[in-house]
Amino acid sequence: MLRIIPFEIRKLLEQPVILLFFIASLLLNTIFIATAGVDQSYVNYIQQTEAKTGTLISSEFQETLSNQPASKKQQRLLTETADQENIFQDYSTEALGQEMIDFFQIDGSVTEKMKKKYEKLTPVVHELAEEQAALEIGRAEETMNIFTFIKDRLFHVVLGESLIFALLLGLYGSTFERLTKTEVLMVTSKTGRNTQGSKYIASFILTLLFYGMMIMLTFGIFNYVHPIGTLWQTSMSTQFHTNFYFPHFLETYSLEIPFITWQPMTLLNYMVLSIGLGGLLISFCHGFNFLVGLWTEHFFRGFIIFVVLYVGFLGLVHIINQFSWWNIHALLMWHPISLWNKQSYWFTEMGPYAVIPWQESIAMVINLFLLGVGGILTSKFYATKEVK
């Protein structure tokens, strides 16, 4: 197997579309970064100022800031940090749960599950209160803009590109020999149908390599264009960063709540965890489509099946939401497509999109386990699959 993998990797790498997709994705991300709309001079000002004032908003902070040379930026920072308090002190997660239930008009057994979930959030909020996470200055009101750009847009785009790459490589990896009519040579060789194992590993390595390189290059470019320095060490739960929930189909009003993760996290920790979970989602997408390729025996047929499943799932969620069938809705949120769609809420209480803490992570592990079961069944099917 080890001897065949380099051949398979090289075979895939020689497909021009792979390099083109990589370059196109990187170019798109670079344009995205260049048009991010970050107020870099204000970000730099806070970076320099916090060396003198410290990173926590307090009366001392206000005093030191007031003594800094007067400027528009100083005035802006004074205004943005005035009257800020530790919002997690005496914060009621039960009330938050009820607010969520009322906002989304959740009913049935899901209501109880939601209440229990928000009860479990209480110790986290106490910890955040103790750490004074809400008072971390970050980059004041520019924090929201930067945090949202990094996790909801930039990472979302990289993840999306990597998922498309995983989809294509998964399908291509398992159907390549059929396209080149070399499948019979592979199947009648001593390695035989087991060659697909090497193909799986080869396409998986390339998929992870694409994801890893795209993350490194994209975030490298971001850091170069918009150096945010110590902001990476700022808590995700600073009061300058909030979580928004929108009722289904209506984005004209929203519910704004603090950004509460199940474990206090800095932006860096959050992104590292997100990259890790994203990697698992990509592994799932690659594996699933590799299996689809083995069953359908055809790249385009496999692709169409994936698109039909994806669109069908979104349609189903749409119908479920319209009828407010919360039990089914709660179940559908365990699906990998939901995990992708709700990426911006990962590791938080997730509002109506989760009924237990860390649901996205647990769901991912379960999905990978089910994929493994699917893999075993497929290998049994493929061992006796006829090549006509």
């Binding site: 080149t180 019979v184 199947v187 009648t188 001593k190 390695t191 006509k388």
Partner: protein, 291 residues
């Protein structure tokens, strides 16, 4: 020894092969049938690409399905439509096949050089195959089938695309190789196997029609092959086999159950026997062509 015991194959509910029993020992076996008779299906069953609906295939007494990799390790196969990677050179392609065959790297490299020499591709061994002619590609296919020094060599329409010189060269090579291995060569071109096959296998109406030596098959039409002048009017029971020019003028070679008045009995060859045995199919093909 390869043995097929009462092998049948159905695709969905339509039978393609029924109750085929054959035994193969070292030597060349020509699988000679018209297109669509089930030759490729039979070869695919032997190469584990397909599995019998009923019956069993044994290699030295053991079921090939159970032998798995051990069986495939002694197998060399050239499929009917040989697929390749256009961007690969013959050397690189054969190295990949050697890896699939789990061959020792050094031995593989030596063998690849030998085989490329044998199929006269040494000069282009590092050139991309996408620029190769059909005959050159077919020669790469032959080389890959022989790479693991197979005990069982299966060749499905191997001479397709080869020029007459290459054809003769290939025939001689196969004859030499068959001294210590089984070679099953599927073709609808009689001359490919006439002189080198130890036995000829014919499939008719999904069943095994015969598995006999070329002379035995030829013998079956002895006294039925005649040459008649060009103006001769064929009766419904007579079959036109071929036409030729001679110093006596244009002659028709026909098969006839009784000697025609102006006919001269000639010595039958394997092609006569083939055309006579498959006269219904040949007639149907001719009818289709005339439409």
């Amino acid at each position: 020894m390869l043995m097929l015991n009462n092998v049948s194959k159905k695709f969905q509910s339509s039978p393609v092969l029924e109750d085929i029993s054959l035994t193969f020992e070292n030597g060349v076996y020509g699988l000679l049938s018209p297109n669509g008779a089930g030759k490729t299906t039979l070869l695919k069953l032997i190469t584990t690409l397909l599995f019998p609906t009923s019956g069993e295939i044994l290699w030295n007494g053991q079921a090939i399905k159970e032998l798995g990799a051990d069986y495939r390790g002694i197998l060399g196969y050239l499929p009917q439509s040989f697929g390749y990677y256009g961007n690969y050179s013959p050397t690189r392609f054969l190295k990949y096949i050697a890896a699939l065959q789990k061959m020792n790297k050094r031995e593989a490299e030596k063998k690849i050089d030998e085989l490329l020499e044998l199929v006269a591709l040494s000069e282009v061994k590092n050139k991309k195959m996408k620029r190769f002619s059909g005959g050159m590609i077919q020669r790469v296919g032959i080389a890959q089938a022989m790479l693991n020094n197979p005990k069982l060599l299966i060749l499905d329409e191997p001479t397709t695309g080869l020029d007459p010189k290459e054809r003769v060269r290939f025939r001689n090579l196969i004859h030499r190789l068959a001294q210590d291995r089984i070679v099953i060569l599927s073709t609808h071109i009689v001359s490919d196997v006439e002189t080198i096959a130890k036995q000829i296998i014919m499939i008719k109406n999904r069943h095994l029609y015969c598995c006999e030596t070329p002379s035995q098959i030829t013998q079956s039409v002895q006294g039925k092959i005649f040459e008649v002048p060009a103006g001769y009017a064929l009766t419904p029971e007579q079959l036109l086999l071929s036409e030729r020019e001679s110093h006596e003028g244009h002659l028709l070679r026909i098969a006839s159950p009784v000697a025609p008045k102006e006919g001269v009995e000639v010595r039958p060859n394997l092609e006569d026997a083939f055309l006579y045995i498959y006269r219904d199919e040949v007639g149907a093909v001719a009818a289709n062509h005339s439409i």
